[in-house]
């Protein structure tokens, strides 16, 4: 059981980063369906920087910058040119898939340097890892996983406890009111779309640098789309996102350990989506403001029409 739960955390980590990235993007009122593309660009960049420089930190920084630059394309299209967000996001996924495949041809069959693999080996945290049961599951993992916890907490504090975070949420709900209050709407949107892209890139890099670790075409295999569903599942809340990501990660690998019980794999594969629908139904029944998507989501903001 413990070994299963350790794997659950690992399987959930790329989903967690991508979900957090999409949450912060959507909080600024932008629906970016390019998560899969940004993850792939991050994955290929992380792997490339890893084998070229041999430096584990440069690898993940490279992945974040690459993810952010990919998001910049989306930002320019949707903020400055006010293009349709759905179409721009889909185009970004197509672009990311092709671009990563093109760059990745140089990296096929190459092996990550040993020092990087060593760097991302599980590290036991003193004291915390001694907590019975959960200690080994949550506090004997690689640095990326810990970075995931920290990002959740940082994002939670940022969104709900700081003025900047409040400004961001205001933009997502009602950009013209925020503009009237003197908040620089476009500037905020750009910054947060870039941060979102960087987090998605990090999610992709976890796959290519730590989990697999190798570059193979289309390494994300649809995880970006699951992350978009997870944003809804976690109701745009970073704290809930960590549970959602681990839950979905767990469901995705539970099948490998339950096949002897003759539970059809197709049912297990469908479960995450069923749960998403159930959560949507329940949260719509509660009609709580807190659980609703940002009101300005996917609506282009024209200052002149204020």
């Amino acid at each position: 059981m413990t070994s299963f739960l350790i794997s659950v955390v690992i399987a959930g980590t790329p989903l967690l980063f991508a979900t957090l990235g999409e949450i912060i993007t959507e909080k600024s009122g932008h629906l970016n369906l390019g998560v899969e593309g940004m993850m792939l660009v991050g994955a290929v960049a992380g792997f490339g920087f890893g084998i070229i420089t041999g430096n584990p930190i440069v690898a993940i920084l490279g992945a974040m910058v690459a993810g952010a630059l990919t998001a910049l394309i989306y930002g320019f299209l949707t903020i400055t040119l006010r293009a349709n967000q759905v179409v721009s996001g889909l185009a970004l996924t197509i672009f990311g898939t092709g671009f990563s495949s093109y760059i990745g041809t140089n990296f096929i069959g190459k092996k990550m340097p040993d020092n990087i693999i060593e760097f991302y080996k599980p590290i036991e945290i003193p004291l915390l890892s001694k907590i019975p049961f959960i200690g080994q599951i949550f506090f004997n993992q690689d640095i990326f996983v810990y970075l995931g916890y920290l990002t959740v907490i940082a994002l939670g504090i940022y969104l709900y406890k700081t003025n900047i975070g409040m400004n961001l949420r205001a933009i997502g709900e009602n950009p013209s009111a925020a503009d009237g209050a003197g908040i620089r709407v476009s500037w905020y949107k750009y910054v947060h779309i870039l941060i979102g892209g960087a987090l998605c890139g990090l999610g992709g890099a976890y796959l290519s640098v730590v989990e697999v670790p190798a570059w193979q075409d289309n390494i994300t295999a649809g995880r970006g789309w699951i992350a978009i569903a997870l944003v809804i599942f976690s109701k745009w809340n970073p704290y809930k996102a960590i549970f959602a990501a681990y839950f979905f990660g767990g469901l995705s690998i539970a099948g490998f350990r339950l096949q002897h019980l003759s539970i059809p794999q197709s049912l297990l594969d469908a479960l995450p989506y069923l749960f998403t629908i159930v959560v949507l139904v329940i949260s719509s029944m509660k009609k709580s403001q807190e659980n609703a998507p940002p009101k300005g989501l996917s609506v282009p903001y024209f200052r002149e029409e204020r």
């Binding site: 299963f4 794997s7 394309i73 400055t80 697999v212 190798a214 995705s252 690998i253």
Partner: protein
């Protein structure tokens, strides 16, 4: 200004879509042109990579010009791509994935002067042959290596889909392992994907956590190899030599060697001797092989493999010869009997010693 920028951006986005699937031509002097359609990227390090090695061998041996197209989906698009290759002068087409079958059949009727070869299907026309390899023979040999290596007597097998091709491989592998280690069990996990490195790795981790100490795979990526490497276990690859991907785990792999068949058939077409056929080549034809053993392979493995290989080659032994028992312990193939090719192509039951369900 903004409009110009927008146009530029859109153009870039669209153009990069094609960047990955760029067509490459290599100039050769001969008048013979051969076209290949691949289902994945050459860089998959697996299935398509093996076919491409065959193409390179063909160029080297016969000096013919070859064209290829990567990552062609198993849809109508394959028809367009085949027509493109024919427009560029291809006289022979090799289509290397199961799902191309019906489209190849259709195009073959439109171009009677072109010769078509389709891999892993079952349809033929006057100018369309199908071909595949008896990889189960090599899997039997790889099972011997795994059977000798395992100490827990539990071998994990990461498998893509419960279809006859995969089931045949699992059965052959298990029989090979049992031939040297009667107590061995082969535990199967289905991933329901050919290509998802992370999921394949997680499936292997599940098997290793369950007590397996050797991992084998019927998948197109090296994900399971990585799992074995990380957990200090050992592994058997598939498709191509995967030594570089997991140097501390990889022992050997059943691999494809399409080159000889491609050379033989293209030569026949050039001589006007082509006849439509269904080809299923094994170790005798050199279509399938076992990759060279690494230092990690157990002692005595080479000798055991050589003996088994010799008996398969001279026909004194067949992988699926009786007595064979199914999972419930019932005798399915009696002593002295052997599964026919037809029965093997429809194989849908596990032999005794396999742990897993076929759904």
């Amino acid at each position: 200004m903004k409009k110009v920028l927008a146009m530029l951006l859109i153009a870039t986005l669209v153009l990069t879509m094609f960047a990955g699937c760029e067509k490459k031509e290599e100039e050769k002097t001969e008048d013979m042109t051969v076209g290949f359609i691949y289902v994945g990227p050459i860089g998959d390090g697996g299935w398509t990579y093996a076919h491409n090695e065959g193409r390179l061998y063909l160029e080297e041996q016969l000096g013919v010009k070859t064209l290829y197209k990567e990552s062609v989906p198993e849809t109508q698009e394959v028809e367009t791509e085949i027509r493109n290759l024919i427009d560029q002068g291809a006289k022979v087409i090799f289509a290397t994935s199961f799902g191309y079958m019906d489209f190849v059949e259709k195009v073959s009727k439109d171009f009677p002067e072109v010769t078509f070869f389709h891999c892993s299907g079952y349809k033929t026309t006057d100018n369309m042959a199908n071909y595949f390899g008896r990889i189960y023979e090599a899997r039997y040999l790889s099972g011997i290596v795994a059977g000798l290596k395992t100490e827990s007597n539990k071998i994990g097998y990461v498998a893509a889909f419960p279809i006859p091709e995969v089931i045949r491989g699992i059965d052959a592998f298990t029989l090979g392992a049992q031939s040297v280690n009667p107590d061995v069990e082969v535990e199967v996990v289905w991933t329901y994907t050919w290509y998802d490195p992370a999921s394949e790795k997680e499936a292997a981790v599940a098997l290793l956590d369950g007590g397996a100490d050797v991992i084998a795979q019927h998948q197109d990526t090296a994900g399971p190899q990585q799992a074995a490497e990380e957990k200090g276990a050992f592994s058997i690859g598939y498709n191509t030599d995967m030594k570089d991907m997991a140097p501390k785990a990889y022992m050997t792999a059943p691999i494809w060697n399409w080159g000889p068949y491609y050379v033989e058939q293209v030569q026949k077409v050039m001589n006007g001797e082509f006849e439509s056929h269904a080809y299923w080549g094994g170790m005798n034809e050199n279509t399938v092989q076992l990759a060279a053993l690494t230092d990690l392979a157990p002692e005595g493995a080479q000798a055991a493999i050589d003996a088994a290989k010799a008996s398969i080659l001279d026909g004194s032994f067949h992988v699926f010869q009786g007595p064979l028992y199914n999972q419930a312990g019932e005798l399915v193939v009696a002593e002295g009997e052997t599964l026919t090719d037809g029965e093997m192509l429809e194989l849908n039951w596990f032999v005794q010693g396999v742990v897993g369900n076929i759904e």
